[in-house]
């Protein structure tokens, strides 16, 4: 097999055939364990909540996804800042990968929130601060992905995305404040968003295991997405050496069409 000199402590093996590695497999395994625990406890073992009833089982999905989304957006923001400073492909890829995963989790969060609303309020949507804030933030990051999708010079595209990543994260607290004031805060903060300290033992266990599972899945996805993005960049680089050769060949005669 191709024995490369950059073999680290990991196994001497042929190049991977995908974005997986031993690290992601271990990580994925842990995530799977916590997911199973979350399903068993969240859906079956833990009792209904005193106030929320069975809808607490939606919260078991809602909290991990929103936390994963915020984690991803924070990674995007940090990477955006680092990109403008260091100008390396690593930070660009990390930021854009995280943004995509953040949008995924955030969209799921909003759907879960609406389903929770259907049970609790009888309607899918209420102009409740957290739902509203989330919807605005989601669209902001959809804009990020829209810009990302526009074909451009890598440096140009990365710069645009980094700027949006920074601007968007700065807006998050402002949107929160504005929407909270706008609705006069009549929805208690503990219901959607943070964990209620009054929860019982198995409920808390279900909540924490699903939260850990959510964050592990988020990181696992991020690593895979980053590697897929890296491979996509290498694939488009492939033509470069050839393009340089072809470009130099243009200088041979018979191609000139002088005006």
């Amino acid at each position: 097999m191709t024995t490369t000199k950059i073999q680290s402590a990991s196994t001497v093996s042929p190049a991977p055939t995908g974005t997986g590695s031993r690290g992601t497999k271990v990580l994925g395994g842990f995530a799977l364990v916590f997911l199973v625990i979350a399903v068993v406890y969240g859906l079956f073992i833990s009792p209904p909540d005193a106030q929320l009833g069975n809808t607490i089982r939606i919260i078991y999905m809602h909290v991990p996804t929103v936390m994963a989304a915020y984690l991803a957006f924070i990674i995007t923001a940090v990477s955006s800042g680092m990109y403008l400073w260091k100008r390396t492909e690593f930070w660009d890829l990390l930021g854009s990968s995280a943004a995509e995963i953040g949008v995924l989790f955030f969209a799921v969060t909003i759907v879960d929130g609406a389903l929770w609303g259907k049970v609790t309020w009888g309607v899918f949507w209420r102009w409740e601060p957290r739902l509203t804030t989330s919807a605005v933030l989601l669209i902001m990051y959809i804009g990020y992905l829209a810009v990302r999708a526009i074909p451009a010079d890598p440096r140009t595209r990365a710069t645009r995305c980094a700027i949006i990543g920074i601007v968007a994260i700065v807006n998050v607290p402002i949107v929160h404040k504005a929407v909270d004031w706008w609705r006069g805060l009549h929805q208690g903060k503990t219901v959607l968003g943070t964990i209620d300290p009054e929860m019982g033992g198995t409920q808390l266990f279900a909540m924490y295991s699903s939260l850990i599972a959510g964050l592990l899945v988020c990181v696992w996805l991020l690593i895979h997405r980053f590697r897929a993005g890296f491979l996509a960049e290498r694939a488009s680089d492939l033509g470069l050496d050839q393009a340089l050769e072809e470009r130099r060949l243009e200088s041979s005669p018979a191609t000139g069409e002088d005006a």
Binding site: S8, P16, V217, A228
Partner: protein, 49 residues
């Protein structure tokens, strides 16, 4: 009463299905994309840490 119980069950199951479905589908898409790109990119450029 019965119908509200049904709504509740549907919404709870729906929330879990949406979450697992969306994240699972995305994960599968990323991994398949990675496999496809790996066939194009030469092996020395795809060593992971």
């Amino acid at each position: 009463m019965n119908s509200s119980n049904l709504t509740e069950t549907l919404c709870i199951v729906g929330a879990w299905l949406v979450t697992f479905g969306a994240v699972g589908a995305y994960g599968a898409a990323v991994i398949l994309r990675g496999r496809r790109l790996s066939k194009i990119v030469p092996p020395e450029q795809r060593r992971w840490m």
